[in-house]
């Protein structure tokens, strides 16, 4: 299986820590993941509002580049850590392959640029790869640090499960919970793990968007979580960066660390905090939660 890394725009700016931790974790697991050369925007949510076809063509270019970079092999996964990119690419692939009229236009556009579309490339979310391509026991064995007292609320958000749930249950996904149990952490059951965080509304119509995020944070806290992990740069941004604003707006004290799932995972695997971009958090993971693990098997028990 060959992996190509599709960062998308956010992982190069607001989501830098996601990129840092994702690359650190995959490296620690011995997984090679080259960056897709000259990738472009996935044509996500906002783009779709203006031109659907152009959005598909943009994703078409990424898929076509991936195929070329993988020398046309049939077992290449284009790994997108960003949920919106994952959906943008998945949706484009589905529509291109399902609707001949879209296919012919995308083909035409790609040909005009000297590119060619092939069905081979699999679009994968990083979570899918880490949960399903690795034996969870081997991950347990690699745990170097025990994160005492961490009660994790796993937050999936929308777009890795909807509308296509390719690697997990649509209504009750459990991939992240399984992963964090393998990492020896307690997970909290909460019913809102796939409810929308508000997306870009937190910035555009903030009174609405932030309320959505606030509901999530409040319920997670109420259910005993002391850290939330996410698998999407926008979700992480919304849940973390507006906490002080929310506290004012909703007259409540909102204070809970929100990390990328790869950051907390990296911490358990013993990767230095800095390498995981943990210093970039607004709400830090408290110092001293780490203690050396007594060995993989013990963690499982």
């Amino acid at each position: 299986m060959k992996y190509l890394y599709y960062p998308g725009c956010s992982l190069k700016s607001t989501g830098r820590a996601y990129e840092e931790s994702a690359l650190a974790v995959t490296e620690a697991l011995g997984m090679r993941m080259d960056e897709l050369e000259d990738w472009n925007c996935c044509g996500a949510t906002n783009y779709m509002s203006i031109s659907e076809l152009k959005s598909f063509a943009l994703s078409g270019r990424n898929l076509s580049l991936a195929n070329r970079q993988a020398n046309n092999t049939e077992s290449v996964s284009l790994v997108a850590p960003c949920a919106a990119c994952y959906l943008g690419l998945t949706k484009a692939k589905r529509y291109i392959e399902e609707y001949p009229e879209i296919r012919s236009k995308v083909d035409g556009a790609l040909n005009a640029a000297g590119l060619e579309y092939r069905d081979h490339v699999r679009v994968r979310h990083l979570l899918d790869v880490l949960v399903n391509d690795f034996d969870q026991r081997s991950i347990t064995e690699r745990v170097k640090v025990k994160l005492a007292g961490m009660k994790v609320a796993c937050y999936y958000g929308c777009q890795i499960v909807r509308p296509y749930s390719e690697f997990d249950d649509q209504h009750n996904p459990t991939s992240m919970e399984r992963l964090f149990k393998s990492l020896g952490m307690d997970v909290v059951d909460w019913p809102l793990k796939t409810r929308c965080c508000g997306g870009t509304l937190t910035g555009t119509v903030s009174e609405v968007g932030q309320r959505l995020s606030y509901i999530l944070l409040r319920e997670a806290t109420r259910r005993g979580a002391n850290v939330i992990v996410t698998a999407c740069p926008l979700c992480q941004f919304n849940l973390e960066c507006y906490q002080s604003e929310m506290s004012k707006r909703f007259n409540d004290s909102v204070h809970i660390p929100v990390t990328y799932f790869t950051q907390l995972m990296g911490l358990a695997l013993g990767i230095p905090r800095k390498k995981l971009g943990l210093h970039r958090l607004f709400v830090p993971i408290p110092d001293g939660v780490e203690s050396p693990a007594a060995g993989g098997a013990h963690v499982l028990a």
Partner: protein, 210 residues
Amino acid sequence: MDNWRGWDKISYQSDLDPRFAEEIASIPGGDKLFACIQCGTCSGMCPLSSYMDVTPRQIIAMIRAGFKGDVLSSYTTWLCASCYTCSVECPKQIKITDIMYAAKRLAIREGVYPKKFPIPVLASEFFSAVEKNGRSSEGRLIMKFVMKTNPLNMFKQAGLGLKLFRTGRFSIKRESVERVGELNSMMKFLEMEHMIKKASDAVGVKEDHK
């Protein structure tokens, strides 16, 4: 009675656009829209429906009935955060999120979206940046967006910006693909296709009238 602001709420058939539904339904898989039984699952599931001026269910009904103006100028479509909950739970498997997109595209094309509403502005800024450079530069996008919608917000958001800047999460560097030419050729091709289609549609319309 002083506060009574009466208006004629009746809708005349001549004010409706009977082709609106067909137009929206022409998106891939869009014809399922006609199967809607108005059960309201979409509105019930929608995390944003409580903030919308009309519910998603009503949007479908309005599209079907030809209330083009009301649909395109409503806030509902722009509040849709594309979480796809409605699409997944719809008992008739109507691709409601895609329909919202279709309505947004039409609103922009016809210039009838709620003008001062920030969301279409963000979408257009995002679109033009990506179309030009192939990537979005989040920092620049946010700045431009704030300038265009509510410059005063710049000060309100200064704290957040500063924090982002300090943690290395904010940059105003312009991001771009290397081979911009490739993208340009692709977009040109699609625009040509679009123009050809429009032209031929226009001819078709003319013949219809004869």
